[in-house]
């Protein structure tokens, strides 16, 4: 797998860019972490004191140098708000966000792909019109609004959903033993069905509100790619060879659609990781998104920089995964160094 290493090496320049940019942008943001940290009762002298202990009184290039040296040793710094190393915070919270995003993506895929395929086989049929309506609606509503609406309807009015306060009702249940960090998977591994049920119940509303937003691009690209595939010469050949309709649709048309769909999936998943920031706030989800929001508000530089750097690395890995998948699906796709 030499190409994997080449690809990873190739991303180093962009990661360096990310490090430089996030450092200077986060420091240019309004807000003074020393004042925030000192609290409302502090006087000017104690704020200056804190500023000196945090090293914020030194010139920016010097601070940057220290930051880079720490980074090279795998030290992302210490968060002012939690008091823990940023790396620990992120590792603790990332599984929650990945769990949420993955379920959202799964939900979106399981609806959007069948819908897109079906719509393409019957253009202007009822499924096609339904597809168009769903795509428009889900693309038009902002994620956080859908989230709030869901909480209002399913928790407040109907009472079907549990309290939107995090990943598990920790008064009634204790989290499953830590393996992956994703409660649903850990509960499954531990065979703890009540916890699995409870964590799924917590997950379902945020995952659907996040997934609805991912539905539109996936359904649209599936329908378009499927239409193109079904109109192509090799489908005509397959029909002229008398292959059964199911085989033509799945083995011939759909497999040719996997390539464009997978590249969109990669993009959508990175959007989802970004939208987590909003939906985690709405549902009290203890993921990296909520962590980043509070870090920005507190001008917690180390935490913001750590979050952005981690996201950048996730995008790199995600794109690599999509490219590897592409080589598996389509023999014409080859890596050229």
């Amino acid at each position: 797998m030499a190409f994997v290493w080449k690809r990873l090496l190739g991303t180093i320049p962009s990661l360096i860019g990310v490090v430089v940019l996030t450092f200077f942008i986060s420091h240019a943001l309004p807000g003074d972490p020393a004042a925030y940290f000192a609290g409302p009762a502090a006087n000017a002298a104690s704020i200056e004191n804190i500023r000196a202990t945090l090293g914020l009184d030194r010139p920016l290039p010097v601070q940057f140098l220290h930051y880079v040296i720490d980074l090279a040793q795998g030290n992302l710094g210490r968060s002012l708000t939690t008091g823990q190393p940023v790396l620990t915070d992120l590792i603790e919270r990332l599984p929650a966000s990945l769990e949420l995003s993955s379920f959202a993506l799964l939900f979106a895929i399981s609806i959007a792909i069948p819908m897109g395929v079906w719509a393409a086989t019957r253009i202007n049929g009822s499924v096609d019109h339904a597809c168009r309506a769903v795509v428009t609606v889900s693309a038009a509503f902002p994620t956080f609004f859908v989230g709030l609406l869901f909480v209002y309807v399913f928790y407040f009015l109907l009472g079907w959903a549990p309290q939107p306060l995090g990943r598990l009702n920790e008064i009634a249940f204790s989290p499953p033993p830590h393996v992956t960090g994703a409660y649903t998977i850990d509960a499954l591994i531990a065979g703890d069905w009540p916890v699995l049920r409870a964590s799924l119940a917590q997950l379902i509303l945020p995952a659907i509100s996040l997934g609805l937003f991912a539905l539109a691009p996936i359904a649209r690209i599936t329908r378009a790619a499927m239409l193109e595939a079904l109109g192509s010469d090799f489908i005509r050949t397959a029909r002229a060879s008398g292959l059964p309709a199911r085989k033509i649709l799945m083995t011939y048309a759909f497999r040719n659609v996997l390539l464009p769909v997978s590249s969109v999936l990669g993009m959508v998943f990175s959007f989802l990781l970004g939208s987590n920031v909003l939906i985690e706030q709405v549902f009290g989800w203890q993921g990296v998104g909520a962590y980043a929001v509070s870090a920005v508000i507190a001008s917690d530089y180390a935490a913001v920089q750590g979050f952005v750097l981690m996201m950048a690395m996730l995008y790199v890995l995600l794109n690599l995964a999509v490219d590897i998948f592409a080589t598996l699906v389509d023999p014409r796709v080859r890596f050229e160094g």
């Binding site: 002229a240 059964p244 389509d330 023999p331």
Partner: protein, 320 residues
């Protein structure tokens, strides 16, 4: 009786811009082992004829009259599922631009196996061997290795051989070749056409060769039908058609076909265009482009003139 018999076939397309009368009273038959060419310019209805036989026409196409039988089976009355079973087993089709006509992400051997699996009734462990045998029959060197190739790894001519191998895998009784050599270079054209001819001779397969190239049809066909604007205007044995064309359109086509001695200046183009098949059409659809047209051509119904039992022409004033 002919293996494939198209009788008095008319096809219309209902489109947003009106009804296109794509075929009008087309009659054509192909015997066992015979190669019949269908020649005409783009839009003359050659491919619609082929697709109608195969039952692959667009949903907008409507067969307004006529009959098609193959080996005694009424194809127009057959149910879609029955048609699907006939396609690939009893009748097969090959297309132009073979590289795009094959599934780009499936090994060519596998694509032939798909056809065999559907129609040949072979146990699945024999499929691969049968697919390789099919490739060997179309004289593909090293068929075991080629079966593992994807279409993009093969040349255009090699892809067309794969297409032929696929079409002939179940030894159909009817083969329709729709411009099979368009887009291939000249030497490859000859190889492919020789292959099609040898295959139809050796398996006594009825072959319908659709082409715009009268020279190619003249070289490989036993009989040739000339189509213009949804009409067959002349059918004759190749020899009679090339030497004694009776329809003005056929003669103009011949004058527009290059031969080795011809220079560019010698080649004629046929004046005018195909008529719009949507509006009211004169009885003779060629009359608008015909230099021998008489007032009566646009009035009375168009007769078939029989010059000999095997040479008929749809013209009131055939050339002699």
């Amino acid at each position: 009786m002919a293996q494939l018999d198209i009788d008095n076939l008319s096809v219309e397309f209902r489109t947003r811009h009106g009804v296109v009368r794509a075929l009008d009273s087309v009659s054509l038959s192909v015997s066992r082992g015979e190669i019949v060419g269908v020649v005409g310019e783009s839009g003359s209805g050659k491919s619609v004829t082929a697709y109608t036989v195969m039952g692959l026409n667009d949903e907008a196409a409507q067969i307004t009259k006529g009959n098609i039988t193959m080996g005694g089976i009424d194809l127009l009355a057959a149910r879609p599922e029955a048609m699907r079973e006939l396609r690939g087993r009893e009748m097969a089709m090959i297309f132009q631009s073979p590289r795009t006509a094959l599934n780009p992400i499936r090994k060519v051997g596998k694509q032939i196996e798909d056809v065999l699996q559907e129609h040949a009734g072979l146990p699945s462990r024999d499929l691969r061997k049968a697919a390789i045998a099919a490739l060997a029959r179309v004289r593909i060197p090293d068929p075991e290795r080629r079966a593992e190739a994807y279409p993009f790894e093969l040349s255009g001519g090699m892809c067309q051989r794969v297409m032929i191998a696929m079409a002939l895998a179940c030894t159909p009784s009817v083969l329709i070749a729709d411009e099979p050599t368009t887009g291939l270079d000249v030497t490859t054209q000859a190889v492919i056409m020789d292959l099609i001819r040898d295959m139809s001779r050796s398996t006594r397969m009825s072959t319908l060769l659709i082409t715009h190239d009268l020279g190619l049809a003249g070289e490989y066909c036993d009989r040739i039908a000339v189509m213009h604007a949804g009409h067959i205007v002349e059918i004759a044995s190749t020899e009679a058609l090339l030497e004694r064309p009776a329809h003005p359109y056929t003669r103009q086509l011949l004058a527009a076909t290059p031969v080795p001695e011809s220079r560019l200046d010698d080649l004629n183009s046929i004046p005018g265009h195909l008529p719009d098949l949507r509006g009211a059409l004169p009885p003779c659809r060629f009359s608008g482009r015909c230099e021998r047209r008489q007032p009566i051509c646009d009035e009375a119904a168009l007769p078939w003139t029989e010059l000999s039992p095997a040479h008929v022409v749809r013209c009131r004033f055939p050339l002699s």
